[in-house]
Subunit: 312 residues, 2 copies
């Protein structure tokens, strides 16, 4: 029997159990809230396209980050569940629009035909648009479950992370940079906006579901920045090391399109080292939370580790 | 000198002056807030596309409705200005996406090349997405100018009006109905969602910037529903009676595409009569506001009249 250190065993056991329970909640909420045919029917096939885009077995990394951060600060779980689903809707809509012929023209996503292949381009465009609006509906329930200040703050953070100074801005840089020799600073800036902003917002939205001191917010901010960047570095690594079946999307696409990546800029081994450095930086943020007296931080730690050491 | 009744003279004079002042505020706010190059630069040409889509001399009917409703209830003008701009951003993004080749494939909008013609399809897609996000940023300032409950309520109303049970849902019906013989109920439902929801939300968002009794909200709700529908009836009339130069967009398109319209369903004269009936219904809502003691209602009255009796 191989020897495993106790903390490692404990940590990996906890993440599996912790995630399973939260993923159940998230899937149930998304399934019940996203254009559910019995609850809030969407007209003319729009609901089908929206549900196809969202209820597709994604990793739900962003929702898990929201919930982990909320639990670390002892926040309102109902607010966190709504925030978790809202962030996932923004992520899902961005994938739908990214895959369209005028953008990446991808036909495969998570092993299934992309939304525009399945439902047509016009419906895909509308479904993405409707998913973005729905995210803000999720954040603003009228049932007293989430106080108004939290609702407003969540909307503010999500809108900023999704918009021109966040995800959409990063995509515009991406679009403009195909075939161009970006330097390291430019590549970092593109990914800070394109992928990092929403991952970091997931953490900060979770934190905003409860009370958090300035020091706690700063530690979570640094954690979010590190994993946001690490996620993209790992994505770039997997694009050259994994196959399409494992990834559930077309592998090797960045290189084929001559897109600048961390691997093309730094090389494969240096990229792997960089991802581990970013993981260490994220975990240092969690250390500070613990030094500050927060106890429920294992999930944040384990999610960072999983995100960097994932294989797809 | 032709005799004109005093109230009519007063009313038309007031709308021109009232609108000019508010339009100044709206244009200034949009110009300063939408990806302003000096304030909040958007990367890689995205800001240019966003500004082109928004700062184009639209009629700003929705923003004026927000401000008129806010003034009727004596609401917070700063909240109303933000809500006004947010509604216009949603309207502007919907036009950008609607014009794209996979939707209406329109090359002319307000007399200028559409966004995708000018900036390319990918940038148009991103600009629309970023404008939607920006709308919710506008609604959630962090400067204490708008209380959190108002912010949350505004986000809730706008998200609902823009999403699958509002504008996006109406567009999905529109998409699915080309060449199909819609009956009157189906045509009404399509337009209630596609155009009506956002117009009605403009009125209700303005009302939510201040205190409003249930009776006041109901009267404004009825007003908003009537003008929301009237707007589309008039649009359908103008599509067959006006030329492209006057409209600033391609005239006769609905008929050419065999899209169901009020005119194709009811005939031209009956459509004109219907528009006047809807105007009367809207004004009856304003009467109830006045009976209830509200005084600043002239703008709501004049806007309804202008909307129905417009020529473009």
């Amino acid at each position: 029997m191989p020897e495993t250190s106790a903390p490692e065993k404990l940590s990996s056991f906890r993440l599996a159990g912790w995630s399973a329970e939260r993923l159940d909640q998230i899937e149930q909420a998304l399934s019940g809230w996203v254009a559910c045919p019995t609850a809030a029917p969407a007209p003319a096939g729009l609901g089908d396209a929206m549900r196809y885009a969202v209820l597709d077995g994604g990793k739900r990394l962003r929702p898990l980050l929201v919930m982990a951060a909320c639990e670390a600060v002892g926040g309102n779980p109902q607010a966190a569940l709504r925030a978790a689903c809202a962030v996932e809707l923004i992520h899902a809509y961005s994938l739908v629009h990214d895959d369209m012929p005028c953008m990446d023209n991808d036909v495969l996503r998570r092993g299934k035909p992309t939304v525009h292949v399945k439902f047509g381009e016009a419906q895909a465009l509308l479904a993405g648009d409707a998913l973005q609006a729905l995210a803000f509906e999720f954040l603003t329930p009228d049932d007293g479950s989430v106080d108004a200040a939290t609702q407003a703050g969540l909307c503010r953070m999500l809108a900023s992370a999704a918009g021109f100074q966040g995800m959409a801005g990063g995509q515009a840089i991406d679009l403009a940079s195909i075939g161009l020799p970006l330097n390291s600073a430019q590549l970092h800036e593109m990914h800070r906006l394109k992928t990092g902003a929403l991952l970091q917002a997931s953490v900060m939205m979770g934190a905003s579901c409860g009370p958090a001191s300035t020091a706690v917010r700063k530690a979570l901010h640094d954690y979010g920045a590190a994993i946001g960047l690490a996620f993209q570095v790992v994505d770039d690594i997997l694009d050259v090391t994994a196959d399409s079946a494992t990834l559930g999307k077309t592998a090797g696409k960045d290189a084929a399109q001559d897109k600048p990546t961390f691997v093309s800029l730094m090389g494969l081994q240096a990229s792997k080292d960089y991802a581990q450095q970013l993981l260490a930086r994220a975990l240092e943020g969690v250390d500070r939370l613990e030094t500050g007296g927060l106890e429920n931080t294992e999930a944040l730690r384990a999610l960072a580790d999983m995100l960097v050491n994932r294989h797809h």
